[in-house]
Amino acid sequence: MSTAGAVLRKDLLVELRTLETVPAMWLLSVITYVIFHFGLGKDTLHGQLAAGVLTVTLLFAAMLAVNRLFVAEREQGGFDAFLLAPVDRTAMLLAKAAALFIFLAALELVAIPAFALLLAPPSLGGSLPALLLFLLLANLAFAVIGTFVSAIAVHTRARDLIGPIIGLPLLLPALIATARGIGPLLVHNASGSPSAKWLAVLALYDLVNALLAVGLFDFLLEE
């Protein structure tokens, strides 16, 4: 656990000092809203359309972080150092998934208010707790699958290409559940109560993938 903490602290420190990933994610999310505004020709979105735009925007921004997650380890020999150290290898998965989760939360700190400001229907306040609940579970899915995919992709020749093409289909069930779940929350005068079915699907998907990742991650770190 302390190993995971150390790797996580290192990642967050690197991000704080270089400001490479998170600001890029913020910019990408806002620019995606602008593109959707012109592409769809609408000033405000609501219901399933709004949910789709929000989910896709978060997905695109998340892919930036996923692509960059292991690049420093690969380029500067962090993998070798980690393998030489007498520590549990699952710590790397934990640390990276936690880092990705924090990046995504930081993204949403800007992306959700920007969405509310630019595209969302007025009076969303009542739906906010349920929306955050969905985002929490969706972030978990992104974090686990993203870490896993990134660890595979970083050792391939075309890593910027392999990451998204494997990651998107694997994330699809989580994206379906998120988009379908938050759709009813983004209509005028929404009741604000989340759909239990989609919360359960998301939670189950998170759990299954977390178990698979814990079971299989060690094989991705061997030399």
Binding site: I152, H155, I166, P169, R180, V201, V208, F219, L220
Partner: protein, 242 residues
């Protein structure tokens, strides 16, 4: 030489007999569908292809577990061949399904049909298997990463079907429900023989592919032993186990 392929001849004969029997049943025994007519017969090809390819994907994952546990290359070969043949079967299956959908519902593609949509997602996921392998040069790492991918993707197949099914209402006829479906007996018999035929075809093709690959590797080894390392061109980048 060591080979892991056995009973190839018997299996080939059994496949040829079953597939021929299935074709005879489809064209001369099974009754014409009252509403859809002759085009309904594509069902005997489409559904078995889909079922067998999905089982094949899961098998690929199971073989991959074998590789991760034992580290023997033959498991990687099995996993690769199972996924390879499944991919071919599922592309054929989705094309056949699309033709059937056009004939019976009037559309080539229906988003309201969860089976089609989740099948497409599974195909899209497994289409990345070969590019992934191709982009990793070291054969040992290639096998290991491909195995990890196959396990996750194999587990993804049933989950994906459940999630997509939850998101839309049915329009597909439920053929294989617990009550045995609403098919008349003659159609059911034809369907099961077709299913058996396609499953045997899958096993045979997979074994032939493994036999060909093992033969190629063995030939290469022998040539190298006979002619020396310099006479053999180095192996190029490849997606298949080598």
């Amino acid at each position: 030489m060591t080979t892991h392929v056995r009973h190839l001849r018997g299996l080939t004969i059994a496949t040829a007999v079953t597939v021929t029997a299935a074709l005879i049943l489809v064209f001369f025994y099974a009754p014409l569908d009252a509403e859809q007519g002759f085009v309904q017969k594509i069902f005997y090809l489409h559904v078995p292809l889909a079922i067998v390819s999905l089982i094949g994907y899961c098998l690929g994952g199971v073989f991959a577990i074998g590789y991760l546990r034992t580290g023997e290359r033959v498991w990687d070969m099995r996993s690769y061949c199972a996924i390879h043949i499944s991919l071919i079967f599922s592309v054929a299956g989705i094309i056949a399904g699309s033709i059937w959908a056009k004939a019976s519902w009037g559309h080539w593609w229906l988003w309201s049909e969860p089976t089609l949509v989740s099948y497409l997602i599974v195909i899209l996921l497994f289409c990345t298997y070969q590019p992934l392998r191709f982009s990793i040069e070291d054969p040992e790492r290639q096998a290991r990463y491909a195995a990890v991918f196959s396990v996750v993707a194999g587990a993804f197949v049933p989950i994906n079907f459940i999630v997509v099914r939850l998101s839309v209402a049915y329009v597909h006829p439920r053929i294989l429900n617990l009550e045995g479906g609403a098919l008349p007996g003659s159609m059911k018999l034809t369907f099961y023989i077709s299913l058996l035929g396609i499953a045997l075809l899958f096993a045979t093709l997979m074994k032939y592919e493994m036999a060909a690959k093992e033969m190629r590797i063995e030939t290469r080894r022998l040539r190298r032993a006979l002619l020396g390392d310099d006479a053999i061109r180095p192996l190029g980048r490849t997606a298949s186990p080598s």
